[in-house]
Structure formats: C-alpha cells, structure tokens
C-alpha cells in the first residue's frame, strides 16, 4: 500500500502544476478585466492542436513549433479581445453578457478545431521527452518534469511582472478601477491587449504540454478551463499565489479520491470540491 503513495504525490504535483499553469493565465485575464473568460478554455485546445499541426503534420523543428504555437495562440487571444470583448466592454456590457459571449467563442472555436482536425484523440510525440525518471519511488516522464518547471517559471515571471514593473502596476490599476486608471494616464486598451497576449501564450503552453503528456482532443479545453476556474475560486479570487494553492489542493483531493474510487469519478470529485467551497468558504483559502 505504501508504495503507491509516492506515485499519488507525484501525480498530484503534476496535475497541480498543470491546473496552476492554466489557472494563472485565466487569473491574469480575470484580475484585469473582471469577467470569467470561458473562451480561454478554447485557447488551450487551440494551443495543443497548433503544436500538433506544426510538429506532426508540418514536421517543423521542435523549437519553431513551440514558438509558433505560442504566437498563434497569443494572436487568437488578441483577436478575441479585439473583435468581441473590447467592444462589449467599451459599451459597459454586464459580466453576464461577456460570460455568454465568451461561452459562444468557446463553443465555436472548439467545433472549428473538430472540423479541421476531426474529433479523434491524437498524440504529439517528442522522443526525448517520453523517457521516465524514478524519484522517491514514483515514475515521472520528462514531459511532466517540464510541465512542473514551466509552471514554476511562469509563476515567478508573472509575480515579477505584476509586482515589480510599471506594466504590472497598470494591470493592478485597471483591475481596481478602469476609469480611474484611464484618468491617471494608463493606456488601458494597450495593457488589456497585452494581458490577452500573455494569457494566450500561457494557454498555448499548457495546451502543448498536455498534448505532449497525454494527447489532445477538441473537448480538452473545457476540462482544463473548468479545473482552472475551480483552482481560481478555491484559491480565493484576487491573489495569484491563491491560484497555485488552489490548483495543488484540487489536484491532491482529486488524486486521493481517485485512489479510492475509480478515475471516472475525478470530475465529480473536482466539482463537488468547488460546490463545497462556494458554500462554506466562498472567499477561498486566501480569503481575498
């Protein structure tokens, strides 16, 4: 029985890293524009498929495929903002209108991916990343190690960006009050565009890592999105480290539950956690 514990811990850390990574991008958008951008979920799937397209179908070199994926996903995020979110926000639309519009974008993009690439499950292979290492009795692939490393880097990068740069100060100003930010001279349009670009690139990264780790299918976005939303809410909407704590907490609960139940119950467990938090600790762990 004991021999399984290191693997559960490892799986939880891997899943937690992924949820944190997706959650961080989602949180960036929420922190700035204050609505739940469900379209973000489609960006992760889009990232996975762009990687598949570039690396597997077009056979371009790995690093070009990676850069290309991030650029394309960031660009799609930017387009979504320009064509839909920006005009709606300029009109003072309610959060519900933005939520419905983002739901529409999500649905449409997911289906377009399915039309272009079929709904079949696909894998993306980079040989060197498939090797496994054994740490404290747990098997971990190189891809998974990469996932953990990338999450740490993104978290540190975003922390520095938000806390120590003028850009970060502007983001916080917009998040607190966009009108005031405008008055004190923040170029809000520009900053919001950059937020979408950064969040898009993070979504793309998460998507391609999932592709390398387990594989891709058009509906993967909803899974990742909803886990990210849960992580953000149970972490306490409003603080970045809360997202990371929320993500790992969710991952540990899921993996411990799956140990006793079977894998199919994962989603039921995850959403039960969300509901319990909404009921008993609506402000999340960090209580912001």
């Amino acid at each position: 029985m004991n021999s399984i514990i290191p693997q559960i811990v490892a799986n939880s850390i891997i899943a937690g890293s992924l949820y944190a990574l997706v959650g961080l991008g989602f949180f960036m958008i929420y922190r700035t524009v204050k609505f739940f951008d469900l379209g973000y979920g489609a960006l992760t799937a889009f990232g996975g498929y762009m990687m598949y397209w570039l690396l597997t179908l077009l056979s371009v070199p790995t690093y070009i495929a990676i850069i290309g994926t991030l650029l394309l996903t960031a660009m799609l995020a930017l387009i979504m903002n320009r064509l839909v979110y920006r005009p709606l926000r300029a009109r003072g639309s309610s959060n519900m209108v933005l939520l419905v519009a983002s739901l529409g974008l999500f649905t449409a993009i997911q289906a377009i991916i399915a039309i272009l690439f079929t709904s079949q499950f696909k894998t993306i292979t980079i040989r060197s990343l498939q090797e496994t290492v054994t740490l404290f009795g747990a098997f971990i692939t190189h891809t998974q190690l990469l996932m953990i490393a990338v999450t740490i880097i993104v978290f540190i990068g975003l922390s520095v960006l938000l806390r120590m740069t003028r850009f970060g100060a502007s983001i916080r100003a917009i998040g607190d009050d966009e009108e005031v930010a405008k008055i004190v001279g923040v170029n809000t349009k520009n900053i919001v565009s950059w937020v979408f670009i950064i969040a898009g690139a993070i979504a793309g990264t998460a998507g391609l890592l999932v592709g390398l780790d387990t594989g891709i299918e058009p509906t993967m976005g909803m899974q990742l999105l909803l886990k990210a939303v849960i992580a953000v809410i149970i972490g306490g909407v409003g603080r970045m480290y809360g997202v990371v704590i929320g993500a790992f907490l969710l991952a540990f609960i899921e993996n411990i539950a799956v140990w006793h139940l079977s894998g199919e119950w994962k989603d039921v467990v995850a959403f039960s956690v969300l509901i319990l938090f909404l009921l008993f600790k609506p402000k999340g762990i960090t209580g912001a």
Binding site: F35, F36, V84, P87, L88, S93, S94, N95, M96, V97, L98, L99, V100, A101, L103, G104, L105, F106, T107, A108, I109, Q110, A111, I112, A114, I115, T118, S119, M222, L226, V229, I230, I233, S262, E264, W265, D267, V268, F271, S272, L274, I275, L278, L279, P282
Partner: protein, 288 residues
C-alpha cells in the same frame, strides 16, 4: 412526411426545454447550465421505471417529474445562494456532476452503454407507437407547458422573478425572501425539463449520457438567447431555428460529423453576435 413529423417532434421536445429554461434564465436572470442534467434525469427515470417495472408511461412520467424536482431541490438549495457569474459557474459544476453520475452509476444507468429498447407510451387502448400519434402527444404536453409558463410569468410570482433579475438586493427591502423564489422556479423549470426528457427517451427508445452533456445545456441557452429572453414566442422561434439549421446544413451537403460540428460553430457564433448586436434576442424584452 415521416421526416417532417420527426422534426416537429424534436421542435416540440425542445420547445418544452426552451420554455422552461426561459423561466430561469430569461425571467429570473439566472444563467443555469444544469438544464440538460434535469432533461437527462427525467429521461433516465422514465426509461428505468418503464423497462425495469413495466410501468405505464404516464405514471412513470409523473414519477420522473417528482424525482427530477427533488434533484432540483437538492441542487437548488445550494445554487440559489448565488447570483450572476458564480451562479453560472456553480451550475456548470452541477451539470458536470450530473453527467458524471449518469456515466458512472453503472448499476443504475448502465453508464456509456446506455439504455436501449425503451417502449413507446400507451394509454388504455391508445398506443403512441406511430410517429404521428407521438407527435400529437408531444404537442399536447408542449401546449400544457406553454400554458403553465404563461400562467407563471403573468402571475404576481412571475413579477417577483423579474424583479430578482433586475436587482435581487433591492427587492428584498420590500419584504421578499428571494432565495425561495429562486429555488422554486428552478424546481418548476426542472420538472418541465423532465417532461421533455420522458418524451425524448420514449421517442428515440434509447438513451445514453451523451445527450445530456454540458454542451447540450449550452445549446439550450443559445436557443433562448437567440429567440429572445423572457418571451415565450421568442423561445419557440429560437428552438425552431436551432433545430432546422443543422437539417439545412445536411441538405447543403455537409457530411454528418461535420454538420454536427457546424451546428456548434453556428450557435457559438450566434451567441457572440447576439451579445454584440442584439443582446435581447430576436423577440426578447430583456438583456442581461
């Protein structure tokens, strides 16, 4: 001719879903994505009761309404504490939990295998085994639901629902405990969805969890947002357009799988376009 009847039956079933969902989303302003779950619970209840106990359809229908309303009570007790985007996300959670239960409680639902060979309704000597008779049954029930929604929305109770949609906080100062209103309309709406589920199960004679996913809820949301929130005619027009559209796509010559995805692309984009240019829908009186 049979094909036309088939389409009318679908329109009838989805009209029941649209009308009932409009009570929650259009009149009360609560973006619920749990509707497909109740549709499913109703369908499963009827299918299981009829197959396992040989119960008459109409008794099974009544029981399935009771079961679905009780499920809505359990979910609504939690959900009614929230509003706006948190309500929406919570309802996403319950949609996924409900779907997860249909998939995983294999002892009851047979999981992904589904339940085949469900009988058509019978009443004394009348059998609704032909599509034409089934259409008549569907229309009778749809008209009944139409009449009930009309009564509800024109009552003093319906007026309170609209006030909750407009400003839940304010209406409380005038002596209303909004929680009970939100809970009760959620249950009423779920009960109506159970009728649609019962019809669907006995019409198709086979059900599996794939008909009751979150995406199906989003499809229903799209129908009523297109037709018009808080308007019964609008809900039906939305249903007609959304049901006929994919059929039209098939006629144009898309392969079946692509046509199914095209349906999602179109209703996804429709949500975006409606939010951008006509947030109250074709006929509706209310925008989020």
């Amino acid at each position: 001719m049979d094909y036309i009847i088939h389409l009318f039956i679908l329109i009838g079933i989805f009209s029941i879903l649209g009308l009932s969902l409009n009570l929650v989303i259009g009149y009360t302003g609560l973006l619920s994505a749990t509707h497909a779950g109740f549709y499913g619970i109703g369908a499963y209840a009827v299918a299981i009761l009829m197959k396992n106990t040989g119960m008459n359809f109409f008794i099974a229908l009544l029981l399935s309404i009771v079961i679905t309303v009780l499920s809505a009570l359990v979910i609504g007790v939690v959900l009614s504490k929230f509003k706006d985007d948190i309500y929406a996300l919570g309802s996403f959670g319950f949609a996924i939990i409900t779907y997860g239960l249909m998939l995983n409680l294999q002892g009851v639902t047979r999981g992904p295998l589904g339940i085949p060979g469900i009988g058509r309704p019978e009443l004394f000597d009348i059998s609704f085994s032909t599509n034409l008779t089934f259409l008549i049954l569907t229309l009778v029930l749809a008209v009944l639901v139409w009449w009930m929604t009309r009564y509800i929305t024109r009552s003093s109770y319906g007026r309170v629902l609209q006030a909750i949609r407009e400003n839940e906080k304010t209406i409380q100062f005038f002596g209303y405990t909004t929680y009970w209103y939100k809970l009760s309309i959620f249950m009423i709406s779920a009960g109506m969805a159970a009728i649609a589920g019962a019809l669907f199960a006995t019409y198709i004679t086979f059900i599996d969890p794939s008909s009751f996913t979150l995406i199906e809820s989003i499809f229903m949301i799209a129908m009523i947002i297109l037709g018009g929130l808080a308007d019964n005619r609008g809900a039906i027009i939305g249903v007609i357009i959304m049901i006929l559209l994919p059929e039209f796509l098939r006629f144009v010559g898309f392969p079946t799988e692509v046509a199914a995805q095209m349906r999602q692309v179109i209703y996804g984009l429709m949500l975006v376009v409606m939010m951008l240019y006509r947030p109250q829908g074709i006929y509706g009186k209310f925008k989020f």
